[in-house]
């Protein structure tokens, strides 16, 4: 069998071969039997026809002899007519005998002898009759005698022909028997040949199918056991080759799929490791954020406390300003009163000096309060500076948090929100610090100016004891000085009012900073809570990454069971 042909083709070829053998056997048998039958029929037919014709010829010749004898003994026209017709009939029989099938040259030669003898017999009878008609009886008798001899010869030749044809019939029968025996042998030989060819062909067909089928089954079992190597399809029938090819294709696809899965599992393991590391980093970052938030909350609390202290101090400063204002107003009133009294009552200069001393003390006290206010303003500037530092740290913290959130991807969205809040808090702190800075600067300028004024007043009042005596004389100057003091006091009143306004604004700023600090503290708490949640999520992520890694390892382990 040739490799690669289809199973159907092989089976069809085998069946066709078997059918062809059966057909050939049948055709040979039928043909042989037909030939034998035809030969037998011809032989029997020829024998029967020959026997019938010879019998008819014998009868005709016998009748011809009898009629001729009667014509010779009792001439009559009827017998002549009958004899003529019988002669023609005998020659027709003779012709039919010549045309019998299966006649050989010996038969034709025998027929020639019969025909010639019969012709001689007829001529002899005819001449005998003519001689008799002429009255030549001896010649007639002689001719009749020749005719009888020829008649006997004709009949003898016919018998010879019968013997010849019987002999040939026996020979033909013997030939037919031999032919039948030969045919039987040939048919048996053909039958055994067909049997051998058929069995061989069937065996070869079964072997050609069974071998590839067993190989295919073995390959299938290998597949089922995980050995996905391609099956050998050489020499397989087309159908099995197609099946094996499909199985190989499937195995190839599975091999590619397993390779892809292995690659993916490795990448998943790597990603899980990265994810785990990133979770750890994120957890660490969350701790830092928490610490930063704690610090920020503490800073905010400190800021609130400082601002509350500042608020208190500012309240005191406001009170002090109010007192300064009232003192300035009272100084003005006193100065006016002093001027009036100086004008009216020189004696009252001493009293005025005493009053000036009191004033000096008041101014000194105001100066002390102004210096205290200056200190508070400077302290407030420090608070603002710490606020700025806090804003800077918040900004740095927001940036770091954003970076970590970006690393965490979708898992870092919460962190990103926190980072945004931190950034906004930083910006708010920065804004508050700037506003506080500007307010403190203005406050310091006013306080310094007030301090300078108070210093001048103090310096002015310091010589009052020495000059009290010269006060009376210098009442005019005093009045002038008081006018100047009044002007300055007016100015102090203005400055005190401005300072009060600035303090009020600073109080508002301080309140806002305090609120912001409170919000910072609250936000820090939220950030801390978010950081804790993030830490918990990070732990979950780490756990998931570990499970993912375990799954990837198990998958890799499973793939190790396949041979590709």
């Amino acid at each position: 069998m040739r490799g690669g042909t289809s199973l159907r083709g092989r089976l069809a070829a085998t069946m066709a071969l078997l059918l062809a053998l059966v057909l050939v056997l049948a055709v040979v048998s039928a043909t042989a039997m037909s030939n034998l039958d035809r030969a037998t029929t011809e032989a029997v037919g020829s024998l029967v026809d020959g026997g019938r014709l010879r019998a008819a010829m014998t009868d005709a010749i016998t009748l011809q002899i009898r009629l001729a004898d009667r014509e010779l003994s009792q001439p009559g026209p009827d017998d002549q007519i009958a004899l003529s017709a019988l002669t023609d009939s005998t020659h027709q029989l003779h012709r039919q005998l010549r045309l019998l099938k299966g006649q050989g040259p010996e038969d034709q030669a025998q027929l020639n002898r019969i025909s010639e003898a019969q012709a001689r017999m007829e001529v002899a009878y005819a001449t005998a009759m003519a001689w008799q008609a002429l009255g030549e009886l001896e010649r007639a008798a002689a001719a009749e005698s020749r005719a009888d001899a020829e008649a006997a010869l004709v009949l003898n030749e016919v018998r010879k022909l019968s013997g010849l044809q019987w002999s040939r019939a026996l020979t033909q029968a013997d030939d037919l028997r031999k032919t039948a025996a030969r045919l039987r042998t040939v048919l048996w030989a053909l039958f055994f040949l067909a049997l051998v060819i058929g069995v061989t062909s069937a065996w070869r067909t079964i072997r050609s199918v069974d071998g590839p089928l067993a190989r295919l089954v073995a390959a299938t079992q290998r597949f089922s056991a995980g050995d996905l190597r391609a099956a050998d399809l050489s020499g397989m029938p087309a159908e099995l080759a197609a099946l094996g090819s499909a199985m190989n294709t499937m195995g190839g696809r599975i091999r590619h799929l397993l390779a892809a899965i292995a690659q993916e599992s490795r990448e998943i393991g790597t990603s899980a490791s990265d994810f785990s590391a990133m979770s750890e980093e994120l957890a660490a970052t969350s701790g830092q954020v928490s610490e930063a938030m704690v610090l920020m909350t503490q800073a905010a609390d400190s800021q609130v406390n400082a601002l509350r202290e500042a608020d208190i101090r500012l309240g005191e400063l406001r009170e002090s300003g109010s007192a300064t204002l009232r003192a300035a107003q009272r100084v003005t009133a006193v100065a006016e009163s002093i001027a009036t009294m100086a004008d009216d009552h020189r004696d009252h200069v001493l009293a005025a000096s005493a009053t000036l001393l009191t004033l000096r003390e008041t101014v000194r006290t105001s100066a002390i309060e102004v210096r205290e206010a200056t200190k508070q303003a400077d302290r407030l500037g420090g608070i603002v500076e710490r606020d700025r530092q806090l804003a800077t740290k918040l900004g740095v913290l927001a940036v770091n948090t954003s970076i970590e959130a970006a690393r965490a991807g979708t898992h870092g969205q919460g962190v990103a929100a926190v980072a945004e809040e931190i950034r906004l808090l930083g910006e708010l702190c920065e804004s508050v610090a700037e506003e506080g800075d500007r307010a403190v600067a203005a406050l310091q300028r006013q306080v310094h100016a007030t301090a300078a004024t108070l210093e001048t007043g103090t310096n002015t009042v310091l010589g009052i004891e020495a000059t009290a005596d010269r006060a009376a004389t210098a009442l005019a100057e005093i009045a002038k000085g008081i006018a100047e003091a009044n002007r300055v006091a007016g100015r102090v009143v203005q400055d005190a009012a401005a300072a009060r306004q600035g303090i009020a604004a600073m109080l508002e700023y301080t309140a806002a900073v305090s609120r912001a600090a409170s919000e910072h503290a609250e936000t820090g708490d939220s950030v801390s809570a978010a950081a804790e949640e993030q830490a918990a999520a990070t732990e979950e992520m780490a756990t998931a990454a570990a499970r993912l890694n375990d799954a990837a390892q198990r998958l890799t382990g499973l793939l190790d069971g396949f041979r590709t």
């Binding site: 045309l99 099938k101 299966g102 006649q103 027929l111 020639n112 012709a119 003519a130």
Partner: protein, 389 residues
């Protein structure tokens, strides 16, 4: 000139060579010859009584046709060759010749001349594993009609001869009673039967029908009866030229001066001297006919065979048959059965052959179709046509 083989010798030779060894040697020989020599010739068999005047010139006529064909290039690249066998006018010899030719490489046979020999040989030609077609130039017995699918004839049957003779006797000569002397074979009986049927149908009567085999001894009582009775107004002789001459001599010796009529077997009687004068002979072809085709043939004949007499009907018909076979071989090749079918188709599905003897076409029973018979009379040593065919 072809080799004319004795029938008996040829038969023994062929029987000896008919075995498997001969076929093997022949096959090997043909293979060797085919590799290094010209292709083998195409053989046409011929048989007849070559020593008898009736068949004396048929070999030469057939050879003349073969030479003409070979001179024109042969057939299908092969030469044509004649294998002639003498049957001596004997039925047994004819049977032996038939067996020999059937076993030979001949593709067809021309023969035999007499109806009796053809009647004996035809079954041999038509039997066996590879039968061979035979075309007789002159066997006219009605018994040959439908004798087998392999037998054809290029001459009219005795029915035509007998009918023409009867018509001439009745209408031409005004004869009402005749005596018939016939050679007791197929030919003689055929002429006798056909003549009698037509003559009696016209109203005439047959006062005596006398068979003979040896005219020297057999016809004496018949002629005596005819002379004594005096009823017969004419004699019809159905036999050969020699037999007719003997009968005429005996009749003249007895003072019988009746008109004599005979079939084509008497052809040549005009050369036997005064004994034949006045004899009416039916014939299918005469060399004296003034037709261009015939005269051309005779001119060629005279050039080729100046020492021989003019060809008779069997010779002219043999000449025609060779050319007819050449046409068929050229058309279908040399396979015997295909050739037989081609011969049978001539005049039916294929064109008739226009030969020296006239138009040749065959009926489905193998007879010549549509050929009439004329009547000639021997006058001055020549045959003169009295009834145009």
């Amino acid at each position: 000139m072809p080799t004319i083989r004795p029938a008996a010798a040829a038969s023994a030779e062929d029987r000896q060579a008919a075995g498997p060894f001969r076929h093997l040697c022949l096959a090997i020989g043909i293979g060797l010859l085919g590799a290094c020599a010209d292709p083998p010739p195409i053989v046409i068999g011929l048989s007849g009584p070559f020593a008898n005047p009736a068949g004396a010139t048929m070999v030469q006529a057939a050879q003349l046709a073969i030479d003409e064909i070979n001179a024109a290039g042969g057939l299908r690249g092969r030469r044509l060759e004649l294998a002639a066998y003498d049957d001596h006018g004997n039925s047994d010899s004819a049977v032996a010749v038939a067996g020999t030719l059937r076993a030979s490489t001949a593709v067809a046979v021309i023969g035999h001349v007499w109806s009796s020999t053809t009647l004996a040989a035809a079954p041999i030609y038509g039997s066996g594993q590879n039968p061979i077609a035979v075309v007789t130039p002159s066997s006219s017995a009605p018994e040959l009609t439908a004798l087998g699918p392999h037998l054809f004839r290029a001459c009219p049957t005795d029915l035509e001869h007998g009918r023409a003779l009867a018509d001439w006797a009745w209408a031409g000569l005004g004869i009402q009673r005749v005596a018939v002397l016939y050679f007791n074979d197929g030919y003689g009986r055929g002429i006798k039967g056909a003549f009698a049927a037509t003559f009696e149908r016209r109203g005439g009567s047959i006062v005596g029908a006398f068979p003979f085999l040896d005219p020297g001894t057999d016809v004496a009582p018949y002629l005596d009866l005819v002379a004594r009775d005096g009823q017969a107004q004419a004699l019809v002789v159905a036999g050969s030229r020699e037999e007719a001459r003997i009968i005429l001599e005996q009749a003249r010796a007895r003072g019988i001066a009746l008109p004599v009529l005979g079939g084509d077997g008497l052809e040549g009687l005009e050369g036997d001297g005064p004994v034949g004068e006045g004899v009416f002979i039916s014939n299918a072809w005469l060399p004296t006919e003034d037709q261009p085709r015939i005269q051309k043939f005779l001119s060629t004949w005279r050039l080729r065979y100046p020492e021989l007499p003019l060809p008779n009907q069997p010779a002219a018909a043999s000449y025609d048959i060779v050319h007819l076979l050449a046409v068929a071989i050229r058309e279908v090749g040399t396979d015997r059965q295909r050739l037989r079918a081609a011969i049978a188709a001539v005049g039916q599905t294929t064109a008739s052959y226009e030969g020296v003897t006239g138009t040749i076409g065959f009926t489905d029973q193998g007879d010549l179709a549509g050929r009439s018979v004329g009547i000639a009379v021997v006058r001055g040593g020549r045959l003169e046509r009295v009834v145009i065919r």
